[in-house]
Amino acid sequence: MTDTAALAEPRPPRRRPRTHGVGRPAWSALVVTVAAVVATPVLAVVVDGLGNSAALPRDLGQMILTTLALMLGVGAGSLVVGGGLAWLVTAYRFPLRNLLVWLLVLPLAMPAYVLGFVFLSVFDVAGPVQSFLRAVFGADVWVPEVRSLPAAIIVMSLSLYPYVYLMARSALIEQSSGTYDAARTLGANRGRALRRVVLPLARPSLAAGLALVMMETLTDFATVQYFNVQTVSVGVYLVWKGTFDFHAATRLAVLVLLFAVAVLVAERALRGRARYHQQGGRRQGFEPERLRGARAWAATALCLAALSAGFLIPVAQLLVWAVGQVISDASFLADPRFAEYLANSLLVAGVTSLVCVGLSLCVGHAIRLGGGRLVSGAAQLTTFGYAVPGAVVGIGVLLSFAALDAGLERAGVPGGTGLIVTGSVVGILYAYVIRFLAPAYQSVSASLEKISPTLTASALSLGAGPRRMLGRVHLPLARPGVAVALMLVVIDAVKELPIVLLLRPFGFTTASVWVYELARENFWEKASLPALVIVAVAIIPVFVLVGQTRRREAHRTVPGKAGQ
């Protein structure tokens, strides 16, 4: 109990007990290798960017300001929405709460490139909303500018908040209610207990979620373009296309990387130097308070409102288009390519998520074993790819393999690497792992960090080897984080577009490429079906995760296990 009380008050940072001064060399080497492999393509782009003196765009200053405003706006928005909703569904009971707990994750399933065009066709001048307003209030009715920075911030916050929501929620579930109860017993009201106990404990998770949101915002080039918001990432594409010169674009890509560094630094600062650890494996969780009457329905309405913009409205619009398409030409449904494209999407996403989570566990584990600055620096480097726009990662992979190919041929290997990158799915998988290690690592390490180091130390002192400890101690305790990681990567990978578009071999098409090809030509009705399929596929891992969360929640109500 003394330990629990100590947890409640953030106290001066205590040094993490190092289990071994230099860590385990084999594990440290593994982390450094992973970081090197993952960073090479990104470095290839940086080298290219620093090595040329192409002109920068005229409105670069404006682009930088826009990027900052967008990232801060979306970060704040998703923190409030995601964190608030997570607290709401965890600490209170209200109508539809059990359903909403997992429905609230669904905006994740909506690819940005779909959300953008759907949103605009609903809300832009010729869309049903404005047409309705004009019909009711006359042609001169004032409507806020849809294609603007504030609109982009709102829409992106409402579609990206699930990252914060998921992380916050798993943090809240993992928190033992003992600390919260202790605070309440000691006289703190709900608000004070939330501020002083729950939030500090959830801070690493909130920071991790926030970092993901900001990186998504930074690399997005689909949604922002629909809203005519020119961020630095959009600038990379504009310069690339506008000048027909890839090297001119890499200079801007380096700038994007600087933003990414800023996000990562900010994330570390937000996590703080203080470390909070739970004791043991017992998960108690909160006893939710039942809301009644108007307050209960207000809570339901709040959740539904948040869900509408990022999911319900776009899905409704897609369904309308899809039904129209099926009525006019149902043969589309029987297209055998449907299944093939979907299988390709799933295969790549599945393999990517397993690799990413496996690597994240190894990296997170190696850090717990110690190893100092080098290892933690290398671990940071592995998450970098998430902050690099997909097409830039893809080009980086091409550049790296082209160099390797040339090197091998010079060294006398006939044919070099051949066509391994674009002749097989290896290039796609490689680029995907670079891009999506971050979401996997963020959630795995956020979970690992909550495991008390004394636990690690005692396992080691009892003679468990590092590998055995990973399998027996860390993995089971970090399971919620692992589940979230698997799910996030699968969803991200199914939605991913620029990389697969660039690196796919002949005969390899995914569902997202299919949507792209149709939407690009404004065949929205035709694109709506495969878009719905992507959304449906991305929902599956949500179900899996919810099942797991439910079991855990049910677990704690079992008598005998519920006691301290």
């Binding site: 005229r58 832009d124 020119q230 506008g242 295969l347 496996g358 399998g471 071999p505």
Partner: protein
């Protein structure tokens, strides 16, 4: 012992990856011709017909123009591609400049494709023609209001204040139109024109279909559109209140652009690649352009009925080099004029 799940997973992953790699590598290049295409419109139809008529099999991969070109460069001589197909003359010019396209000499192509729509060295050939011209709501605009000599510049006149809708500055369509204005009038005058549009409080929309919908809904009177978007929207909704006006008919002619293709430098089958280009420029013209309501480049081939109904027009001669070299200037000019 307890490591088993992890080890099993890793072994499984490795196995799966090798299988995936093997499958795609083997199943990869089975057709006679491989095509990288940044153009998507109904390629299956045209290529299917080509295979039927010639027995040459074709497979293609679609993607983004700039990225496909980088991919070609990175693949170098290992590239499986035989033909690079793209939209926008600037991209074709750039492919040739970067030395990714091989010179072809073909009497058939020289005969079929007008001189300004192909490379002098035969590295690329235009195959489909699109016009970017003025569209308007007939309830709100009398076409006599347009400047028949230089319609694009005429939209900078204050009479159009608050009535214009155009595409965003990031659109390749906007950029190549402005590049052609720079080519035609010089940078200073082009800047004046774009500033005039901005001063007229032009509404910027992010795609051509939204533009047409906005004109139809009466939220703007005039827009600048690719002709085929109007043809396509009219085919779906014949009551659409949008008419087409052929711009600058008493002056330099209407701004046009092309889709085209060239034989890839590292192609292992340039003969068949050339046959495909020849077929697309002659017998295959209708199969290639009609589904997307584009104009054939070959003057001997008739356009399909919906766009034929727009009437004949004079086009501005196409200067691919200008589209390529002036595009960066156009981007800069649009930013300077405050056009978003």
């Amino acid at each position: 012992m307890h490591l088993r799940p992890l080890t099993t997973t890793l072994v499984g992953l490795t196995a799966l990856t090798s299988v995936l790699t093997g499958c795609s590598a083997i199943g990869g290049s089975s057709a006679d011709l491989q095509i990288y295409s940044a153009r998507h419109y109904d390629l299956e139809g045209a290529f299917g017909q080509f295979t039927e008529e010639t027995g040459i099999t074709v497979e293609f991969i679609s993607g983004d123009d700039a990225e496909l070109l980088e991919r070609l460069k990175a693949e170098g001589e290992d590239t499986p591609a035989d033909v690079f197909m793209t939209v926008d003359a600037g991209n074709l010019w750039n492919g040739a400049r970067q030395d990714e396209l091989a010179p072809t000499s073909s009497a058939v192509l020289d005969e079929a494709v007008p001189e300004d729509l192909r490379d002098a060295d035969g590295r690329w050939y235009g195959l489909a023609l699109r016009a970017r011209t003025v569209t308007y709501n007939p309830d709100a605009v009398d076409p006599a209001e347009f400047d028949a000599v230089d319609t694009y510049a005429g939209l900078a006149d204050p009479t159009w204040k608050g009535r214009l809708c155009m595409r965003d500055a990031t659109s390749a369509y906007t950029q190549s139109l402005v590049a052609s204005l720079i080519d035609l009038h010089g940078r200073e005058r082009a800047l004046e024109i774009v500033r005039g549009w901005v001063a007229n409080e032009v509404s910027i929309l992010s795609n051509d279909v939204l533009l047409l919908e906005a004109i139809d809904a009466g939220t703007c009177d005039v827009g600048i559109n690719n002709h085929y978007y109007l043809a396509r929207t009219l085919a779906e909704n014949p009551d659409l209140k949008v008419d087409l006006y052929w711009a600058s008919q008493e002056g330099a002619g209407t701004h046009v652009n092309i889709s085209g293709a060239g034989v890839v430098q590292g192609s292992d089958n340039p003969e068949d690649a050339q046959k495909l280009l020849e077929w697309l420029a002659t017998d295959g013209q209708n199969a290639f352009v009609d589904a997307n309501h584009e104009f054939p480049v070959n003057p001997a081939v008739e356009p399909e009925p919906v766009i034929a109904a727009f009437g004949d027009f004079e086009r501005m001669p196409l200067n691919a080099e200008a589209y390529g070299t002036l595009n960066a200037d156009a981007v800069d000019l649009l930013a300077e004029a405050g056009y978003k």
